[in-house]
């Protein structure tokens, strides 16, 4: 047996121009969450409990796109989703379309442990959350000023329908149709990397 191991991520598609202080901030959050998991594993905790504990911490910190600090829909609301899977017995739980649950991953865990299903979404998931008594927050808890700014940029670009492009500040215009993609080496899914900057 090779002993315990843990890995954590905070999202891919990082904007190559991310300021150094933002990089350091992200690293600090990742390191803090790793230590939470390491301490639990040293104490003999089960894998499924550790992944839930670590993702809860990441959801609570607004630095990454989940829970508080989630990306916003075109209406400026949050629709969060999460899943959890226990390799022992391949049990799993998932939720989508949450707008008030503080820690979506814990509701996914309850779907796995306390419901006959493996996936609940939107109204049904919100109803299940109230039945289970999980902590819920007002929508404003999840919305950060920075993400409202990102959303406005996307809307100003008026290209969101096709390429979800968020104009890089200082770029005069932003092509509004998918057809006129600028051949930018930094692309993700054929889209400018700036679209995913918050990710």
């Amino acid at each position: 047996m090779g002993g315990w191991a843990i890995a954590v991520h905070g999202g891919a598609g990082v904007d190559p121009n991310l300021p150094a202080e933002r990089q350091e901030e992200a690293k600090r959050v990742i390191a803090r969450c790793l230590h939470i998991g390491i301490t639990a594993l040293r104490g003999g905790a089960a894998a499924v409990d550790v992944v839930e504990m670590v993702v809860r911490e990441l959801e609570t910190d607004p630095v990454f796109n989940s829970g508080r600090g989630s990306a916003l829909t075109r209406r400026g609301t949050v629709e969060m989703e999460a899943s959890i899977m226990d390799g022992h017995g391949r049990r799993c739980g998932a939720v989508s379309g949450l707008s008030t649950v503080k820690n979506p991953v814990s509701l996914a865990r309850l779907v796995m442990d306390k419901s006959p299903h493996s996936y609940l979404a939107f109204d049904g998931a919100e109803e299940f959350a109230r039945e289970q008594g999980v902590e819920v927050m007002d929508n404003s808890y999840f919305v950060t000023e920075e993400n409202v700014g990102m959303l406005n940029l996307a809307k100003e670009a008026n290209s969101i329908l096709f390429d979800y492009r968020v104009p890089v500040p200082g770029v005069e215009t932003c092509s509004a149709s998918a057809g006129s993609m600028v051949d930018n080496p930094l692309q993700m899914n054929g889209l400018p990397i700036s679209v995913y900057a918050p990710e």
């Binding site: 315990w4 843990i6 905070g10 690293k27 790793l34 959890i84 998932a94 990710e199």
Partner: protein, 130 residues
């Protein structure tokens, strides 16, 4: 998107992923994170959590593919991750983290960077972006 994969002292694996999705997405959009086998998967052999362009991850059932090539082709965890990232995403871009029941960690991504960190019982620990 955030995620965590763990193998505990008993060799049991688990994975969890959570996200707000894409900025300015249409309401009602479901991404890869909650779809078991796409953004998240765990079995006796390994555990995987993905991030990036959800639609590509869904089409490639990325997380399950890593486990499948380990199961059926006998690849090691990093080989399986590299195979999935290189040959399953078509033009999509994504990243993933993985652990094996033998206490190994692996990651792969074809984006410019991925916020990530990993640690093992023998004292290894790393936090990185690029």
């Amino acid at each position: 998107t955030v995620g965590c994969v763990v193998v505990d002292g008993n060799g049991c694996c688990a994975a969890a992923t959570s996200t707000g999705g894409l900025m300015n997405k249409l309401t009602g959009r479901i991404g890869d994170s909650p779809l078991i086998g796409c953004g998240t998967y765990a079995c006796e052999l390994c555990a995987i959590s993905c991030t990036g362009e959800g639609e590509a991850i869904i089409r490639s059932t990325l997380a399950r593919d890593v486990a499948a090539v380990m199961e059926y082709k006998g690849l090691g965890i990093q080989e399986a991750v590299d195979f999935a990232i290189k040959s399953r995403l078509d033009k999509g871009q994504a990243g993933l983290i993985a652990v094996s029941r033998h206490g190994e960690v692996a990651c792969g991504f074809n984006t410019t960077g991925m916020f990530r960190g990993s640690a093992t019982e023998d004292g290894f620990m790393k936090v990185g972006i690029w």
